[in-house]
Symmetry: C2
Subunit: 359 residues, 2 copies
């Protein structure tokens, strides 16, 4: 492994993406005395309100990318769908953490599934689908119901089509609009959990206690900590996450979503970044997932992941944000808003962390 | 009282002063979806790294003050020594919270002592000193040892001279450089505490549990929560703070420093702003003093001040910041650095909050 690069306070952390994750990463970086520089194609990004510098430019603007890389000490990202050409350019100037391998794996559902399977981890049955012949074969092998997903650029339920019966296959394939896809079988699970795991530059690993997730319409609705897990399941979850991080020589925080089944834990997906299901750590831990990520990227020691309080995290999606006056009256509720001006259905506007008691 | 003015997310809070308090106020404001606009005469202010907009201009620049006031929805401040002329101008454009009365009282040690005395609260014996005749009389009345302080613009032990015996009076008076001053008698106390108290726009009051302060060389060294106090003393402390806030029709967070003496609590001084001795709340409470202040200023309900953890806050003064690598290894320690580039003796570079157990 390479020599750890330790950033001292005053250094600048470059963040690709200026959404709410970048916003909360910026705040965490400020606590450690770092400045942040956001690179974001969209105007008025949420992270910009709390960042030292914002570059507004597309990922195809080579001059802007170069200037950004020159201005920062290390580069990290808040989402995994950064174009490869941009990464190639940035990579030649400053280190990107988490590394390119983690990005390559998580940018493609098929590559990700193959990687996890090779590690000996359980995943949903899957098959690559590029056309109607592939899909017909895959449906025979995996059966319906199943979900057809684009291999790349999917998030929050986008780029997905359920196939409840074989006759729905044609429509599902049309929904993919010709994009290389993957058919995934359904997994019978009792509930979903996620492990927010971190790995430092010296290879040390620290995991927060798994949270239990509830999704609605394909979007995370709530995360509750602690999750319903036996001690053995809890240990399995953490060891499994550590295995993934080690295999990738990973540096930073990763979100690992797992299905709890009667046959053990099945990996749903991994995200090479801070994760919505880890927002509870802001009010449950001394060092939250955002600071943990910054610490890893900066070569600092990791927090121990210990929890002082139990928490229920509730996402505020679209109109949910109208409930803020109600939440503001509850002294056990911490409000986290993202500074987004327009309320849209399905848009993540903020979240609340309700303290439910001491850990 | 005037109609509460409730700010909705997306509004901009103007902050006079761009130091560490402004920095942490900005971060707290971001959690509630507010933007901040910092007004600061000095270049590269710590708060600027996490603020949406920074105005760099002196308090005598009327055009800059006017533009700042026009651009924000409400004005607050991180320190009390803003010139009156600037406040007059700002006040005519946008509301200033906490109000002018709180500023007027706390900007002048003599006015403050008189105000507290009139409220029936105990303060150190004091007398106004404008010249050597006043000082001689005051020393007869109050006795030595005593402390001569400038009435205005003192902080962190600056603008103060101890008089251990009457023959030191001349030198002490010279140290004041002709500034109107106040002689304060020594108070025999066992320890010092402070109450971080908040009052909302609707008159509701919420106090954090008192912390116990230790000063070194006139600068706060540490605050420990809980403080050593009997239940009766704790109640006295909180009621006393509430009395001050009500008398000022105060909106925002105030730091109230108290001496614990055999004869009861004696008010040392009040600060009409978030206070160094309240930094522990960042890691001990769901809603910290910074968010509490923003909530009050924005007309939101206050947090209840409840503590989930016991905390020891330690200031990092000057070279103390070299201990960061050591602190970073302790999972019970939260680091808070201020983004200041130059380390100078006596300069507050950051603080750490060590969790010592559940509350």
């Amino acid at each position: 492994m390479t020599e750890p690069q330790i950033l001292v306070p005053g250094a600048t952390i470059g963040i690709l993406g200026g959404g709410q994750l970048g916003r909360m990463l910026s705040v965490a970086a400020s606590r450690l005395g770092f400045k942040t520089h956001i690179y974001e194609p969209g105007a008025n990004p949420p992270a910009g309100h709390v960042a030292d510098v914002v570059t507004t430019a597309p990922y195809e603007d080579e001059a802007a990318l170069k200037a950004f890389a020159d201005a920062v000490d290390v580069i990290t990202y808040e989402f995994e769908n950064v174009p490869t050409s941009a990464l190639d350019l940035l990579d030649s100037v400053k280190p990107i953490r988490p590394n390119r391998k983690a990005l390559a794996v998580s940018q493609d559902r098929l590559v990700e599934k193959a990687f996890l399977s090779e590690l000996g981890l359980k995943v949903a049955p899957y098959a690559a689908v590029d056309d109607d012949v592939d899909l017909a074969e895959a449906l025979v092998e995996i059966g319906a119901p199943a979900i057809l997903k684009t291999r790349r650029f999917g998030y929050d339920g986008k780029g997905q089509a359920r196939i409840m019966a074989p006759e729905e296959a044609d429509q599902a394939l049309k929904d993919m609009a010709g994009a290389p896809s993957i058919l995934e079988g359904f997994v019978e699970f009792s509930h979903e959990i996620s492990v927010i795991a971190a790995r430092g530059q010296s290879g040390d690993i620290s995991c927060f206690d798994p949270g239990e997730n509830v999704h609605k319409s394909g979007i995370l609705h709530s995360t509750t900590v602690p999750a319903r897990l036996s001690p053995a399941q809890r240990t399995d979850a953490v060891l499994l996450a550590a295995k993934i991080l080690n295999a990738l020589n990973y540096v930073g925080v990763m979100g690992v979503e797992l299905f709890v089944t009667s046959g053990g834990l099945v990996v749903n997906e991994i995200a090479p970044r801070v994760h919505n299901s880890g927002h509870w750590t802001q009010n449950g831990c001394v060092i939250d997932q955002f600071e943990q990520h910054i610490r890893a990227v900066a070569g600092w020691p990791l927090g121990d992941g210990k929890r002082h309080s139990n928490v229920e995290m509730l996402n505020l999606i679209g109109d949910d944000v109208d409930r803020i006056p109600e939440f503001a009256k509850d002294g056990a509720v911490a409000i986290h808003l993202y500074g987004k001006t327009d309320v849209k259905p399905g848009r993540k506007m903020g979240h609340v962390n309700k303290i439910t008691g001491p850990a």
